[in-house]
Symmetry: C2
Subunit: 238 residues, 2 copies
DNA sequence: CAGTGGTCTAGACCACGAT
DNA sequence: TCGTGGTCTAGACCACTGG
């Protein structure tokens, strides 16, 4: 016995599969019918229709753009966090158009977790960079980067929307010696949710990264929130 | 302006934080108040209460046990997919009690994706093992393992609930040379959802793994579905 | 058996996006 | 301004769990 929300999910999942295979004139510009249209079509209610849409969202088959509608999710960016390939190159290799927007830049004391990870003492401050990255115009990554101020004086503002790895190498002679990545499924709220056009509490993939240089001195602490349907991690080993 | 579901979320998130810090007599045995109790407490409706609970679930702060109730999520298992530490050792190191249940064992042709990954031709078959793994009695991982029948004849049934890595080393002289892991946020349905006490469409962390031996011959294909609040991946590099 | 969550009905009003 | 999704009300019945 199928429940109604699963029925609707299956129906849409089939249309999406056809659309992705290039066989479908369903969906103009990847936009799904409005929730109210689906309600009519299935003689159902918005609760049930939204249940179905939420399931498809969880699977990563569709995504929402806040109050604009539901869209078929493009193929995922495949990303190896242990490789140091930068975002622009990675996107280009996978035929996607990347963009980066610097949202804010501050010099602050910083949260305890960050200070500890970077081994800061007394009055040492951190530079906090907040950036939003997009693929083909769709925001997919909200990231906050913390750098010890002392290690990176006079950051070149003009370059903060480009690859930081390259900037750090070229202007500060950074040589990465080690990197820790922590990956978990989590949820986004407030500024993160709004920036990514998601609703409060939407699931995401959270990556926390600490980078070390020289004799294992931490020089960078990152928090990344990925729109979960936009990414797949690839981790080779040995 | 806070919406009601966020208010309820925040209220519960605070209680959960206290409970986890050991300061709270809230929640007996980690069980949250029933949805209907929360409805009364907040003069709200189940829709709104469930919105709040779903958000907490997405964050990994609570989990549901199908039709039994909502529970505070224990600390996550930290897991490095590129290390070959087996599940039992890993759990023990983190003070958790592991268990494995073999759900089914078959010899079949297998799905196309699997056959391709394993490089099977003509009538070669695969052994399909389905297992459920638990931590402290809570199911956290549903996995399907595919092995080429020709490479692993006469599998020792008695050992299929233990570490396969150890079994393969000891009885088939397998030497892993390489491994690919693909990680994505996805959703569970049907048998997977039921086995994990989740509802259809609940989010999960999906890991697809291919292992190679000798001169890059694939000998194992795995699909893992993790209850997302039960796991955090740790990926060191360089 | 009672109590839980799972699913669903049939509406309503609001905030925001596009135009 | 109109259409979209976001949030919410006030119920209902069902499936399953546990005592």
């Amino acid at each position: 016995m199928l429940s109604a929300n699963i029925e609707i999910r299956d129906y849409l999942a089939n249309l999406i599969a056809e659309y992705n295979a290039g066989n479908g004139g369903h969906f103009t510009a990847g936009r799904l019918p409005s929730e109210r249209e689906l309600v009519e079509q299935f003689s159902s209610t918005r609760i049930t229709v939204r249940d179905a849409l939420t399931k498809l969202e969880a699977e990563g088959l569709i995504y929402r753009s806040n109050r604009r509608g539901w869209f078929v999710a493009p193929s995922r960016l495949v990303y190896d966090p242990s490789s140091r390939v930068n975002f622009y190159l990675l996107a280009a290799q996978q035929n996607k158009t990347p963009a980066t927007q610097l949202i804010s830049q501050r010099c602050i004391k910083g949260p305890a977790e960050t200070r500890e990870a970077l081994g800061l003492v007394a009055k040492e401050k951190v530079i906090e960079l907040v950036r939003l990255r997009s693929l083909n115009g769709r925001p997919v990554l909200f990231e906050t980067i913390y750098l010890p101020e002392q290690r990176f004086p006079k950051l070149n503002k003009a370059r903060l929307e480009g690859s930081l790895t390259v900037l750090m190498e070229e202007e500060y002679a950074v040589q990465i010696c080690h990197e820790d990545n922590r990956i978990r499924v989590s949820a986004v709220y407030d500024q993160v949710a709004e920036s990514l056009s998601l609703i409060n509490g939407a699931p995401c993939l959270e990556v926390t990264r600490i980078r070390y240089e020289g004799d294992r001195k931490a020089f960078e602490f990152d928090k990344e929130y990925w729109v979960h349907s936009a990414i797949e991690l690839s981790i080779p080993s040995k």
